[in-house]
């Protein structure tokens, strides 16, 4: 019907911005700048979801991460004295473990990149764009196709534990 918007150009643009943002997140000393770089990264990630014809996931990504969680991040960061943290030395003493983890992850990426076609023989999994919301709902809740129901509920339980923990820690007397 229409010319596809998901062209390689947009992929390289979005992932390029994402990589720059990701590097800025860990190199900036100013925590607010880091948070802003992280927001850019998350928004570009939403763009990548759009390129995969998953608009619902992209929308949820914007609402939850960029609009919700990052606001709370900023909320907390603003209460920290930036002047003092700017003077402190950045502490990343775990660089041995960091390099090991990065190497393993990089190896995984390279393996997927080189052997992807044999590892995932079905090739690309495409959903019709107009059905994305309904498809996700079916995968989560449908009695026949709903294969992710259990993991979804586990995640909900984890969140519930976190909520209760937050209440317990914040309240002196319950």
């Amino acid at each position: 019907m229409n010319a596809p918007v998901a062209t390689p150009f947009f992929f390289y643009l979005l992932s390029g911005i994402m990589l720059i943002g990701g590097v800025l997140v860990i190199t900036r000393k100013n925590a607010v700048h880091s948070a802003l770089a992280l927001i850019t990264t998350l928004l570009c990630q939403a763009g990548l979801y759009l390129m995969l014809y998953a608009p619902f996931v992209a929308g949820v990504q914007i609402i939850l991460y960029a609009g919700g969680i990052m606001v709370l991040f900023l909320f907390v960061i603003m209460l920290i004295s930036i002047e003092r943290t700017m003077k402190e030395r950045q502490f990343n003493q775990q660089w041995l473990v960091g390099i090991a983890a990065a190497a393993v992850l990089g190896g995984l990426f390279i393996a997927v990149y080189t052997k992807g076609k044999t590892l995932f023989p079905q090739g690309r999994l495409t959903y019709a764009e107009s059905q994305n919301t309904q498809d996700i709902a079916a995968l989560l809740y449908d009695s026949h196709r709903g294969i992710y129901m259990f993991s979804f509920e586990i995640a909900s339980l984890l969140l519930l534990v976190a909520i209760i923990g937050a209440v317990v820690m914040a309240k002196k007397r319950i």
Binding site: I63, G67, G68, F75
Partner: protein
């Protein structure tokens, strides 16, 4: 050259398709420019109307000097803002201070991509339309927070903290109210309680155009569906949207008696005007969400109770008559202008303005025109009613205290909207069997 003309004309032949759906770049650009221009005019008009209406509510006259009845006041204001010195505090975070107003403006304007002024009068229709609107408009809080922080000053920081706490709190209740409205799009029952119709609930839709079409198909605006459930959801949204846009009585982030001007205290000139623009276009955006979800979007009032060609004809006269009325108001005030020679230019200008309005009204009376733009008129009229409500709130309610604000958000609106969602879902679930039962009994 010929190809281009054919390309441009090809969209005009596709009825009931947005430029985005038709994949037509040219018309999409035209629509974007039209929406942008219309929005800017609306913000300018809103600026004048707010000052005038608020003044009349407080038994004052409001702006009277620049132009007849202060009609040119917004233009004078805009010029003043553009010419003002652009101040940046010495210890401000330069980059963040610079980027914050743009975040707010971008977030406020981007949402209009999916606002449906009519079945074909939207820039595009996304299948996640309402989600996109909520998501992008929630990004504007980032701009407010960063603006307050980057100013490196106490009042803006407190304003930004208040703003983020407030917007995050009210987003929850707002989202739940929206979900209960989206739930209704999956039903097929007709009328208030869904009697008859095409059977079992289907999949719903998140698309803005789809939501209005669902109301058209069910023959009821969602504000009246499952009365009073729809009304409660609408009320929750109507309260939460005032808090989301930081307007009175929830305007704590810029409470002038406590915080000077809140998060934009340190901003001046053009940057401040960007915040102003964003605030008003965000108000229009959330109002259009409310209109789309609960008030039937572009549908004319009483599409079922008053149907038939006679009523269609009467309602099709409304756009033209509105503009004729506005023109007549102008001419009436031309007669009331002071007869002093100094007021001659103003009187002539007002008469000219009235003549333009009357001419627009006459053009809108043509059946060919009114049938095409009638939907835009009804949508804008409903949004305008919300804009009036905003001014009315500001003239009526005193500002909440912050603990009261949080109490309303978390202890009243959130539980109510949760309960509402559950009850609506239950009703939607048993609706087909109720319809079946009623068919057998009656």
């Amino acid at each position: 050259m010929n190809d281009i003309i054919v390309y441009i004309q090809s969209y005009l032949n596709t009825k009931d398709l947005t430029p985005g759906a038709a994949g037509n770049w040219f018309w999409a650009t035209v629509y974007i420019l039209l929406v942008f221009a219309g929005l800017s005019v609306a913000v300018i008009a809103m600026n004048w109307l707010e000052r005038k209406i608020l003044a009349h509510m407080q038994v004052r006259l409001g702006p009277m000097r620049v132009g007849p009845h202060g009609l040119l006041q917004p233009i004078a204001d805009a010029l003043k803002l553009l010419l003002k010195e652009d101040i940046m505090p010495a210890n401000a975070d330069k980059l963040v201070f610079w980027v914050a107003p743009f975040i707010v403006v971008l977030a406020a304007f981007t949402v209009f991509v999916v606002v449906p002024f009519g079945p074909a009068h939207a820039i595009t229709d996304m299948n996640i339309g309402i989600l996109f609107m909520l998501g992008v408009s929630s990004l504007s809080v980032l701009g407010i927070v960063t603006a307050g922080w980057a100013s490196n000053s106490h009042y803006p920081l407190i304003g930004a903290l208040r703003s983020s706490a407030q917007m995050v709190s009210y987003e929850v209740a707002m989202g739940l109210a929206v979900v209960s409205a989206i739930l209704l799009t999956s039903l097929h029952g007709l009328g208030l309680y869904g009697v008859g119709g095409a059977g079992a609930p289907d999949t719903g839709t998140l698309s803005m155009i789809g939501i209005v079409q669902a109301q058209q198909e069910q023959g009821v605006w969602f504000v009246f569906k499952f009365f009073p459930l729809g009304l409660i959801a609408f009320f929750i949204f109507a309260v939460a949207m005032v808090a989301e846009t930081n307007r009175a009585p929830f305007d704590l982030p810029e409470a002038e008696s406590e915080l000077t001007a809140g998060f934009h205290t340190e901003y001046s000139g053009f940057r401040w005007s960007l915040f102003f623009l964003a605030e008003y276009s965000a108000m229009i955006a959330v109002s259009s969400i409310a209109v789309t979800l609960w008030l039937g979007g572009w549908l004319r009032p009483f599409p079922n109770a008053l149907q038939g060609s006679t009523w269609d004809f009467i309602f099709s006269l409304c756009p033209g008559l509105t503009f004729l009325f506005l023109g007549a108001m102008c001419f009436w005030n031309v007669l009331r202008m002071p007869k002093h020679p100094l007021f001659k230019i103003q009187t002539i200008g007002l008469a000219g303005f009235g003549a333009v309005l009357a001419l627009v009204g006459l053009v809108l009376l043509l059946p060919a025109v009114s049938s095409r733009v009638g939907d835009i008129f009804w949508f804008s009229a409903k949004v305008a009613a919300f804009m009036y409500l905003y001014i009315w709130y500001r003239g009526t309610f005193p500002r909440y205290r912050f603990d009261q604000l949080m109490k309303v958000g978390w202890k009243v609106l959130l539980p109510t909207s949760l309960a509402l969602l559950i009850v609506t879902a239950a009703l939607a679930f048993i609706e087909p069997s109720i319809a079946e039962w009623m068919k057998r009994v009656l």
